[in-house]
């Protein structure tokens, strides 16, 4: 019998305020281990705030966040990274003045990146090898995104939080990203915020949809992808528009 495990990430009634604004309004959802959960929703629904709250960059005003059964609501960001949570922000957060090599060295806290993991990165994103000594600021948008994701996986991580990985990317690059994410999800748990429904449908195991700071739908990605009416109701657009 397969081992039964609880969710890797569990949000219970999370509220987050930014200044006077009440952004997250009682968010509840789980991310099961070794699954890729897509967090969808219209602009301003609170998806980015949700990721930043999990990563400790904004503090939840109430509610609880659990990681592998342990409460992490008040855990500092560096400690969350040490627990194995990696975060790729919407702006990618690469260090433009550092080379590709230096960006990856920084993410490998033990020192130089492990050779096996580097080989995997070069296989997923050959451009990283080609531009190894180039300044990250000189890379194209797609290459910067590849670097941001490479940095998140240069060390073994248990959970990747990735905010809009396909934003502003050309369709050919999105295709390469789908391939790379397909490989990543084999051994890592991912929570991905995404606006591109085609990307979400291709990769997501499960989905959580946000609206006005609340989770309004959770379920299997395949079920949402198959139900045009549900897409229209939840996201305001049907699948064919995004393809």
């Amino acid at each position: 019998m397969p081992e039964l495990r609880g969710p890797l990430l569990d949000l219970r009634g999370v509220n987050t305020h930014i200044g006077q604004y009440h952004i997250l309004q009682g968010v509840d959802f789980v991310v099961p281990e070794k699954q890729l959960v897509m967090l969808l929703g219209r602009n301003g629904a609170g998806k980015t705030t949700c990721l930043r709250t999990i990563m400790g960059l904004w503090k939840a005003s109430s509610g609880k966040v659990f990681f592998d059964g342990k409460e992490i609501t008040r855990t500092a960001t560096p400690d969350l990274a040490r627990l194995g949570i990696a975060y790729v922000p919407e702006n990618m957060g690469i260090f433009a003045g550092l080379t590709v090599r230096e960006n990856l060295m920084l993410a490998a806290r033990g020192g130089d990146p492990d050779d096996t993991r580097l080989e995997r990165i070069f296989r997923l994103f050959p451009a990283m090898k080609k531009f190894w000594h180039s300044h990250a600021g000189n890379l194209s948008g797609g290459q910067k995104q590849m670097l941001a994701i490479s940095r998140a996986i240069v060390e073994p991580r248990r959970l990747l939080l990735i905010d809009e990985p396909t934003k502003g990317l050309a369709p050919a690059i999105i295709g390469a990203m789908i391939e790379a994410f397909g490989e990543l999800k084999r051994d890592t748990t991912l929570l991905v915020v995404e606006q591109n429904f085609h990307f979400a449908k291709s990769l997501g195991d499960a989905v959580a949809v946000m609206d006005s700071g609340r989770i309004v739908h959770t379920g299997a990605m395949a079920a949402l992808a198959a139900d045009g009416g549900l897409q229209q109701r939840l996201l305001g657009l049907s699948l064919h528009v995004h393809q």
């Binding site: 957060g93 003045g97 550092l98």
Partner: protein, 323 residues
């Protein structure tokens, strides 16, 4: 290529001044004086630019580290001055090295205290940072009056670095050459630390995007305390060198130099050590040339230089790619 353009400004400024000064020996003397002044300002400003860049902290109290460093060195130099009477290099060094060490240590301890007590509670709030660091500067300047007195203290300059070299018809003060050498050593050391060590890598990344550095598992606050203390120590070293250059110490000296230090930080680009170095040399040269040609315009010329640089590069000579 565009990274090298600001470097060209230094010889350009020097060459532009040559016909205005008229006499080559005078120009050589002024140029060496300008470079020496620039190096000392660089030592005082480099810590401030990193503090700006790394934690976005507006520290107007930086001037107190300069003053305290100068007073620390003055205390050692006046107490141990007898050992310099022999006129030997060994005798001079036996006093100067402890004086410089005292300046760095005192300013570094002061920096640690400031970060811990005054700055830590006001992270992220510029208005409060300006108010509390200005207040700290005033309070500690008064404490200098209490400890060392309000009067100017004359400083004996060691014999080994007193007097001048004669190069053709130009007289070049030995102290200025020593200041250039020390400045170059400090710049080289900073460059090596920032570009060849893991701590340096973290500092460079932290200046660009402190939040992302935290997300990678590093405690940026600890790094900041280290940079703050090291920057304060460097300001103390700069203060000691500046005091020996002026051959006197006054409680207001830190506050007086602070204006030029801020101009250098802004010209260089907030958070850029390389920009700070180039900016300091430009300001040092400009101050010396205009001090000779039109003394009343000395400070105004540096403000004009800042305006011109900002019109050309609004974020300074070497803008740091802030996230």
């Amino acid at each position: 290529m565009s990274r090298h353009i600001p470097l060209v400004l230094i010889p350009l400024l020097a060459l532009a001044a040559l016909p205005l000064v008229g006499s080559v020996p005078t120009w050589v003397t002024l140029t060496v004086a300008g470079l020496a002044m620039g190096m000392m300002i660089f030592m005082m400003a480099s810590g401030l630019t990193l503090v700006f860049g790394l934690m976005d902290v507006m520290n107007f109290a930086h001037g107190i580290f300069i003053s305290v460093g100068a007073y620390g060195a003055a205390t050692v130099l006046t107490r141990m001055g007898g050992q310099m009477q022999g006129g030997t290099l060994a005798g001079d060094l036996s006093v100067m090295l402890p004086a410089v060490a005292a300046a760095i240590a005192l300013a570094a301890v002061m920096g640690w205290f400031f970060e811990r007590v005054l700055i830590r509670p006001v992270y992220g709030d510029h208005l409060k940072q300006i108010l509390i660091t200005m207040g700290g500067l005033i309070v500690f300047e008064q404490l200098i009056h209490v400890v060392w007195g309000a009067d100017m203290i004359p400083l004996p300059r060691p014999g080994a670095i007193t007097g001048s070299f004669i190069l053709g018809d130009a007289a070049i003060e030995r102290y200025r050459v020593a200041a250039v050498v020390v400045g170059l050593v400090v710049f080289a050391a900073m460059w090596l630390v920032l570009n060849r060590t893991r701590i340096g890598l973290l500092v460079r990344a932290g200046v660009e995007n402190p939040e992302m550095v935290e997300s990678l598992g590093y405690r940026i606050r600890r790094l900041f305390v280290g940079v703050f203390v090291a920057g304060s120590g460097l300001a103390g070293l700069g203060g000691a060198m500046w005091a020996m250059y002026q051959e006197q110490v006054t409680p207001q000296m830190g506050m007086q130099v602070l204006v030029v230090v801020f101009i250098v930080v802004i010209i260089g680009g907030l958070g850029s050590v390389g920009g700070c170095f180039v900016g300091a040399l430009l300001v040092g040269l400009m101050a010396n040339y205009t001090g000779f040609l039109a003394p009343k315009l000395a400070l105004g010329s540096n403000i004009l230089l800042m305006v011109l640089v900002l019109l050309w590069r609004p974020r300074g000579l070497y803008p740091v790619g802030k996230a």
